[in-house]
Amino acid sequence: RSRILVSIGESFGTSEKFQKINQMVGSSDRPLKRSAEVSTTPKPLKRL
């Protein structure tokens, strides 16, 4: 099954991998435990 492994702890260079992870997690059709609640998915970070 697809899982993603990233080496972290250094500055710079991992942004792309996290975009992939966030897409994978955000697009999963896994039934959310409390899907009844409104807006359970995290709101994207703001851009100042």
């Binding site: 492994l5 080496s7 500055s11 994978m24 999963s28 995290p42």
Partner: protein, 100 residues
């Protein structure tokens, strides 16, 4: 047409080499920046910075400070929303960004 294409490919070769040199230069500069003793004290963000991009009334922000080469693994979301961290060079610190 053949000669025109040959000339274009030569130009592209030169352009690509230029880019390789600039990428190499920038990578070295970035590394020197992050390792510069002068800079050790100043590259930080404040909790206020984090609250400015993630609304604390709706978002929970967890901070992870890990040593180099720590492995972060995200499982297949169809199985679980699971994140594992495994360090070999030291302890990992995890904080919750306080609301106030």
């Amino acid at each position: 047409k053949y000669q025109g294409l040959e000339k274009e490919i030569h130009d592209l070769q030169v352009a690509e080499q230029q880019l390789d040199d600039l990428i190499q230069m920038c990578t070295v500069q970035l590394k020197l920046l992050t390792e510069d003793p002068e800079n050790q004290q100043y590259p930080y963000v404040t909790c206020q910075d984090l609250r400015s991009i993630a609304d604390p009334s709706e978002q929970m922000v967890m901070l992870i400070k890990a040593p180099p080469e720590t492995q972060l693994q995200v499982s297949d979301p169809a199985e679980a929303f699971q994140v594992s961290l495994k360090s070999t060079q030291g302890p990992i610190d995890v904080f919750l960004c306080p609301e106030d």
